[in-house]
Each structure stands twice: as C-alpha cells, then as structure tokens.
C-alpha cells in the first residue's frame, strides 16, 4: 500500500436485504450500479442475465422508501421492463442496473425479491 498510489475510488455503502432477511452491507464504487455492487460482492438474489442492458428484469429490487426521492428517475424502458418482473412490481420497484450509486445514496437499502425468474 503506497501512500503515493492512486487515489482510492469513492464508494458508498449499500445494504442488500434478502427476502428471508439476510443482510449484507458492502461498499460500492460511485458510478457502479446497484446491480454491479451485488454481483461483484457475490450477493444472491440478483441475477442480471443481460449484464446491465435493461433487457431482462432479473435485477429487480425494492428500494427502501426513505431513499426513493434521491434516486434517478425511471426511464421508459426500465418502466416497461418492470412490468415483466417475476415477483410483483410495487411502488418502490426498480431495476438495480438502472440505479447508479452516488455519494448522496450512501447508506442505500434495497430488498431483493424472493425470485428473479
């Protein structure tokens, strides 16, 4: 570990809670998506079949209500894909691949559905 090395990438804490209540908090680099944060940390409950192209709806998450106002708005394609999720869509449903992690989202809590497909 060099003191003169590259500046550590900025991160934000994201907590993933499974449908059975298993809770994991990880640090996700700012700019990565909520889906990428789950995949790279081996969190079950997110599948991400299409790799983040917003084509498959297998990274469905329920976002904790207290963070909803801070999220980027839902675009049309995500809105349509959310109608194809395996578990029911709710008011706080999002696709993890469409939520870029920002400093403002530090502490974000998302719940993963019982199944993605």
């Amino acid at each position: 570990m060099s003191l003169f090395g590259k500046k550590q990438k900025e991160t934000a804490a994201v907590t993933y809670i499974s449908h059975t209540g298993d809770t994991q908090q990880v640090l996700v680099p700012v700019g990565d998506s909520v889906m990428e944060g789950a995949i790279s940390n081996g969190i079950n409950g997110i599948v991400a079949e299409c790799g983040g192209a917003c084509q498959c709806a297998t990274c469905h998450v329920y976002v904790d209500e207290s963070f909803l106002a801070r999220l980027n708005p839902i675009q049309e394609n995500e809105d349509e894909m959310l109608n194809t999720t395996f578990c029911p869509r709710r008011a706080n449903s999002r696709l993890g691949c469409q939520i870029p992690v920002t400093k403002e989202l530090d502490g974000l809590i998302v719940r993963t559905p019982e199944a993605q497909q």
Binding site: I39, N41, G42, E49, C50, G51, D79, M81, Q117
Partner: protein
C-alpha cells in the same frame, strides 16, 4: 466422477449451466472448462458499453472468484477439451488432464469468420471476439485516424458507432445492398443507414473487396476489386461467426449447421447436450431447426438443460429476443422474422419511435422496436402465447396491445 457434469466452454451458456445446476438443486460435481484465461465474462459489452467508454473492462465478469468457490464449481480456465471418449465417458484436455463425466455439456460457441483476403494478416486488421481483443481495439482506436469497418451487421455497426463516437473517420463496407440484411426489414436497414450517416459514418453497399494494402507490415488502405482504394490505419472486421463443431464431429456426433440436438437440447448421445451458439436445435418460433447466436438463447438453453439434468425434464421453448445498441439508439427485437411475408409499422420511423411487426402466413412472428420498449415487452408475451394480432391491429396506435396480450 460418474455423476458429475462437465461443461465444455465457459462463455455465457457454459457459465449459466453451472450456475443454474446449483439453483436447481443439483449437488454433484460441476466442472467448467474454458479456453480463455480468467473468469467467465459477458461478451455484449465488448462492442457496446466498453468500447463506448461507458463500462469498465473489470465490470464484465459474470461473477467474482468467490462465487465459484461457494457454489463448488470447479473452473478450469485457459484449458481446452481436445477429445471426447464417449465409450468410457472421459474428456481429455490440452493440458493433458483427463476428466470423467456423467453428463457432458458442449457450450463451445463460435469463432469469427475470417476473410481470406490478401493483406488480412497486416498489423492493424482486427477482429472482435474476446475481452483481450476488445482492449486492444480500444487502444488502437485511440491512435487511429481512418477506420474502415468490413461488415454492416450488428457487430460491424456497433464497432462503427463506437469508432465514430471516438471522433474517427469511419467507413463501413457491406457486400449486400443494405445494413443488417440477414435479420431486419428494409425499413430498419434504412433507419440505421440514416442514423450512421447523420453521425458522419460513410457506408458503401454492394462492395466487392480486392485486398487490404499495407506499408511495412502495417495496414494503409482497403482496396475494392475495381481498384478504388480507401485509406485506413485500422480495419475492423465483423463478418459473422462459424460454430465450433470439430470436437463434436470428431466424437462422431451428428453436426449440420451446428451440433444437432433434440427438443431437450440433447445430442444423439443421451449423456451429451449442446447449447448456445453451437447448437442446431428445433425451435418452435422458427418452425424449423436453427442455430441462434444470442445471450437470450445461451441463457435460456442453459437453464433448460440444468433443470433436465437436475431431474425436471424440460423441452426448450423460450421466445428469442435480441438487442443492439448503436449511438444512442437501442433496437429491441423479439421473435424470428425469417420468412416473413408481410410487415406493418406501428408509429412513424421519422419520429424515431416505431416498431416493425413481421407476419408469416398471417401469424405475428417478430417485432423490432426503436424507442418503443412497451411494444417489445408486450411482444414477448404476444409471441410466446401465439396471441392473434392482425396487421391492422398492429399498425393502429389506438389498439391496446397489452389488453390483447392479457385477453384469455
């Protein structure tokens, strides 16, 4: 390991079989053999998000190392199966290692079709298939000035869009009279010609290539058969793929357009399956045997056989879907349009918000959508369920397709 599953090929299909075997509750040994080094990764971002600078190469791994350990998937990267002994159920690897199988999955994929053109070996002539090749193309793009793309299909056009977004002069050469001619209707070919030319990309159709010219071993121009020469310091070739059939053929398995499999994606040897880009399978949406090169096909075929191997026998009948990203436009496709005899559009192409509905003998067989994700999403249902939709209904924006899909 008489009950183990050995998967040959660690691309999207091979990876998915391994992962889905565990979610299906299969508890036996799983070995995943890939000829590339490193962790299995996704290929779509290579020509899309990665080249466009929107996605880091580190982010394309399908899962981290810990996943394979936790799921007890033995990953053997950088090795290759060179022989299948069907009599005693062993495979031999290039490293000399031998592995016994109970079930063998051939997810061997495809390789790039190469051009047998004079000068094709010159420095600066590149193909794209692997992550390493994508990294190299990106480095070369940064240095290049005149980029010539040979092939106006999905990969060629995604490469052209990326090169154009890097500010390069880009010239696409296509042998046929229109873009993506093998898969989309002329309406979409025209739309994409406009899209690319509006970004300054030059496109030549009906091209007959003569040779690739070079200076001191480096590419300098692409020369047509009639002698016209276009300067190039980077030539990117995307002219399709050929399936990897040698291993199956040498093992005595039936091969045609791909490795021949039945409805359950099983070869004539009950212990051997073939899936993904290499599998010639009966597809209910084609009404024929086809080989499909797509993420959807790889993933859904993998899931299908994982369920069968775990004891819940499945026939493959997932709806095919595809996508391509070029510039800021995403084309979403569902169904197989080959052999269509009628098309109608929903929405106006001029509005950059329209879908093309393909009919074959009055049956809806495919929908291609530009900025109409709702049509695509409902289309997956309409086509999967064989819902009756008339061309008149499809073209009429006041007809609610969702209601049609939901009707009993």
């Amino acid at each position: 390991m008489p009950d183990g599953v050995v998967i040959v090929g660690a691309g999207q299909a091979g990876f998915q079989v391994a992962a889905s075997l565990r979610t299906e509750g299969f508890d036996g040994p799983v070995v995943l053999i890939g000829d590339e080094p490193g962790l299995p990764y996704q290929r779509p971002p290579l020509s899309k998000g990665y080249l466009a600078g929107k996605q880091a190469i580190e982010s394309i791994a399908l899962r981290p190392t810990a996943f394979y350990e936790k799921q007890r998937i033995e990953l053997l990267p950088g090795d290759r199966v060179i022989e299948i002994d069907r009599g005693s159920n062993w495979v031999t690897l290039a490293s000399g290692r031998r592995v016994q199988y109970g079930t063998l999955v051939l997810a061997v994929g495809a390789r790039n079709r190469t051009l047998s053109l004079k000068g094709a070996e010159l420095d600066g002539v590149r193909y794209l298939r692997t992550d390493a090749e994508a990294v190299e193309i990106k480095e070369r793009l940064a240095q290049a000035r005149d980029v010539v793309v040979i092939g106006g299909g999905f990969i060629g056009l995604e490469l052209a869009a990326a090169a154009s977004e890097h500010g390069k002069s880009v010239h696409v050469l296509e042998a046929l009279p229109r873009l993506m001619a093998r898969v989309v209707s002329p309406i979409l070919s025209d739309f994409y010609r406009e899209l690319h030319t509006s970004h300054g990309v030059r496109i030549s159709f009906g091209v007959e290539l003569g040779e690739i010219a070079g200076r001191q071993g480096k590419v300098s121009a692409v020369v047509f058969r009639d002698g016209t020469a276009y300067p190039a310091d980077l030539v990117l070739i995307g002219v399709g793929v050929v399936p990897n059939l040698e291993l199956a053929r040498e093992a005595g398995l039936a091969v045609a357009n791909g490795i021949a499999v039945d409805e359950q994606l099983r070869t004539e040897d009950a212990k051997i399956y073939a899936i993904g880009d290499c599998a010639d399978h009966p597809n209910p949406y084609a009404g024929a045997r086809v080989r499909i090169e797509s993420v959807q096909n790889a993933v859904d075929q993998a899931k299908c056989i994982a369920a069968t191997i775990a004891g819940r026998v499945h026939s493959y009948r997932s709806v095919p879907w595809f996508w391509t990203d070029q510039f800021d436009i995403s084309l979403q496709m569902v169904g197989l349009s080959a052999g269509y005899d009628r098309i109608v559009t929903r929405g106006e192409p001029e509005s950059h918000k329209f879908s093309v509905f393909y009919f074959k003998q009055e049956r809806l067989v495919a929908i291609d959508s530009i900025n109409r994700p709702g049509d695509h999403v409902v289309g997956r249902k309409l086509i999967a369920n064989g819902t009756t939709v008339t061309p008149e209904q499809a073209a009429d924006l006041s007809v609610d397709l969702k209601a049609l899909a939901a009707a009993p």
